[in-house]
């Protein structure tokens, strides 16, 4: 065992001569969100040059608001994607949540906070059902959540007409508790003369919490593991089912926040809305460096993805271009981001 012992000595030395010193720049290149960060900077500089209004504080607050409405959902969706699954029902689940809150409090004439609480239960419930069916049937999450997406779309329209008699929920602006709920979910904060929507702060807080959970808690370790290799995770005692179901419920929670914002920002909800938004959240996560196959990514990446989306969306308006080009632009971003991610993953797996 002499060979082993000499090896041991070399191994326990604090600094190993075979590890080349990596500069902070090289370390940064190894992060999942680097592609998105570079993209975001390029995009920001680009719009700052073509549109003088883009860098004005008020316009920037609008960009941030636009980003936050995508970003809040992108937090949950990013974590879910790192956990190896994705959810197509998120767009309409947001509307389901908002409809639940408004219809319930309107129909039973309760304080709107009762409806808000019920909506939270419904949102978490939708997430739980998605996750539970997925774990029970072992079907791909694409199929399971596509089914939930279709069912929720139908339920949103059908129940709204059945209860409220129209395609949108009745206005609840005169009801008890509306003002306090609006203050929580849809107010603005004045910072140095600029009105910043509260969703921006909720977004930042969610990203911070999600990043902490991912990087510094056991649950974060489990999320990476169930996405990277669920069988390996199970074999070492990680509760795979609970982790995945929890992730779906996390998406539900984010959907509840956004749903409540939508409701209290306008006081009514269109029952047919939300279709197609699920892809925006997934795009934000993917641009942000989350692998579709799971096991790799970050919450900050998803936030940067959402910010890119917000900049592109509003920047085109400020640059006074035809917004028709927006979707093309988004598609191109997605393609480039996915290619960058692919290269990153190959490099990480390389020996």
């Amino acid at each position: 065992m002499t060979i082993t012992q000499t090896k041991t000595k070399a191994g326990s030395a604090a600094a190993d001569e075979r590890v080349a010193k990596r500069s902070p720049f090289q370390k940064l290149l190894g992060r999942p969100e680097i592609g998105a960060l570079v993209g975001a900077i390029v995009l920001f500089v680009f719009f700052a040059l073509v549109s003088p209004t883009f860098t004005q504080p008020n316009a920037f607050a609008t960009v941030l608001y636009g980003s936050s409405t995508i970003g809040i959902m992108a937090v949950g969706v990013s974590l879910l994607m790192i956990g190896g699954e994705f959810d197509l029902s998120t767009g309409v689940a947001v509307i389901s949540s908002a409809l639940t809150a408004s219809m319930f409090s309107w129909y039973f004439s309760t304080n709107v906070w009762v409806g808000v609480g019920l909506a939270l239960l419904v949102s978490l419930g939708i997430g739980y059902v998605n996750g539970w069916i997925l774990m029970k049937t072992k079907l791909p999450s694409f199929i399971v959540t596509l089914a939930t997406f279709l069912m929720l779309t139908g339920l949103n329209l059908g129940l709204t007409r059945l209860i409220g008699g129209g395609v949108s929920s009745p206005s609840i602006s005169n009801m008890e508790g509306f003002d306090s709920a609006r203050a929580v979910f849809a107010s603005s904060v004045n910072i140095a003369g600029v009105d910043v929507k509260i969703t921006v702060f909720i977004w930042i807080a969610l990203v911070a919490v999600a990043t902490w959970v991912l990087m510094r808690t056991r649950v974060g370790n489990w999320i990476f593991a169930v996405g990277g290799d669920a069988n390996a995770a199970r074999a070492v005692g990680v509760p795979v089912k609970a982790t995945k179901i929890g992730l779906f419920m996390g998406v539900g929670f984010c959907g509840w926040i956004l749903g409540m914002h939508n409701l209290f920002a306008f006081d009514t909800v269109q029952s047919g809305e939300g279709v197609g938004n699920e892809f925006l959240y997934i795009i934000a996560a993917v641009i942000g460096g989350c692998l579709l196959t799971g096991g790799y990514g970050s919450a900050i990446g998803g936030a940067i993805g959402a910010f890119i989306f917000g900049m592109a969306n509003k920047g085109i308006v400020y640059a006074q271009w035809n917004p028709d080009w927006f979707k093309f632009f988004l598609g191109l971003m997605l393609l480039l981001a996915t290619i960058v991610n692919l290269i990153v993953k190959r490099r990480a797996e390389l020996k």
Binding site: M1, T4, F224, A225, D229, V236, E349, K351
Partner: protein, 305 residues
């Protein structure tokens, strides 16, 4: 008594379990069997594992080796016979159950997540935490430190615990998995074909880690289809074939040649020679195979053909 203080010598002096000083095995199986529907995967397997001993399970593909370890590791439940841990009858419901009983498994696919850093893999499922309630967070620095230290103790020379484990070689990954099991207080270590996908040199390295784990007082179950790997490190040998035990030997009762002969299956070789002869024209090969049969006959004392 600390498991680390037990060496091979103290064990050999009295054939009792050193942890309890009672004559029980760390882990023992008596007549264990398992079927999937009408397929009998395993029947009537008896074996024992003790501290500081290596029990080898040998068998060809489809012999039931995997089924056997899945039962011990808690992935499947046996439906015949008795599984005892420290003399107490047990049936594991989940891998967690088996882990809690001190049985750790290093799988063929290693149960590591390639994209995750080494230290995250090392502590996966048993992370160290500090703080309490909802603010419980992982003790990252301590975990990195322990990972580096434990791997060094196993003689694994590591460069950077932050690198994805997928970047390590097969042998190194195997050793990380073994070191992980040892650190988390495994009493029984199951190694599922650790040398199957490795080269000659790397296999030697892994075999050395098996001996190190043994010298640290663990009971090791070493599953392999290579008698040349099993014989030098093993203390007991269980031979499986078609889901049945075809022999259970102490090292003193068997030689490497006998072990190889049992594994190779003299009857099959004789049959092959017969077929080749009938086909004709393969004179050299027939001669060679017949020579093998003769060898097998000599070492096992049975006649074939």
């Amino acid at each position: 008594m600390n498991a680390n203080d037990i060496d091979q010598q103290t064990l050999l002096q009295n054939e009792k379990d050193p942890l309890t000083h009672t004559p029980v095995h760390l882990l023992s199986l008596e007549g264990v069997g398992k079927h999937y529907g009408n397929i009998i995967a395993l029947s009537d397997v008896t074996m024992a594992v003790d501290n500081g001993r290596v029990t080898c399970v040998l068998g060809d593909n489809g012999a039931g080796k995997s089924t056997l370890i899945k039962i011990i590791a808690g992935l499947h439940q046996h439906d015949a016979g008795v599984l005892n841990v420290m003399g107490e009858e047990r049936k594991f419901d989940s891998p967690r159950d088996a882990l809690d009983a001190g049985i750790a498994t290093v799988y063929q696919d290693l149960a590591v997540v390639p994209l995750m850093p080494i230290w995250r893999n090392f502590f996966l499922g048993s992370e160290l935490t500090s703080g309490f309630g909802p603010f419980k967070s992982m003790d990252v620095e301590k975990m990195k430190e322990i990972t580096l230290k434990e791997l060094a103790a196993m003689g694994i020379d590591l460069r950077d615990v932050e690198q994805p484990i997928g970047q390590l070689s097969g042998g190194e990954r195997q050793c990380v998995a073994i070191a992980r099991a040892v650190y988390f207080g495994a009493k029984v270590l199951i190694l599922d074909e650790p040398t199957a996908a490795l080269g000659v040199k790397q296999s030697g390295v892994v075999l050395r880690y098996i001996l190190q784990a043994r010298d640290r007082g663990l009971g090791v179950i070493f599953i392999t289809h290579n008698p040349h790997h099993a014989f030098p490190v093993g203390d007991r040998f269980l031979l499986l074939k078609r889901g049945k035990s075809i022999g259970y030997y102490d090292k003193k009762d068997i030689t490497l040649d006998e072990l190889t002969a049992q594994m190779a299956g003299g009857a099959e070789l004789a049959e092959l020679a017969h077929e080749l002869e009938q086909l004709g024209g393969h004179g050299d090969i027939v001669k060679e195979v017949k020579g093998e049969v003769a060898d097998v006959t000599q070492t096992t004392g049975k006649t074939y053909g």
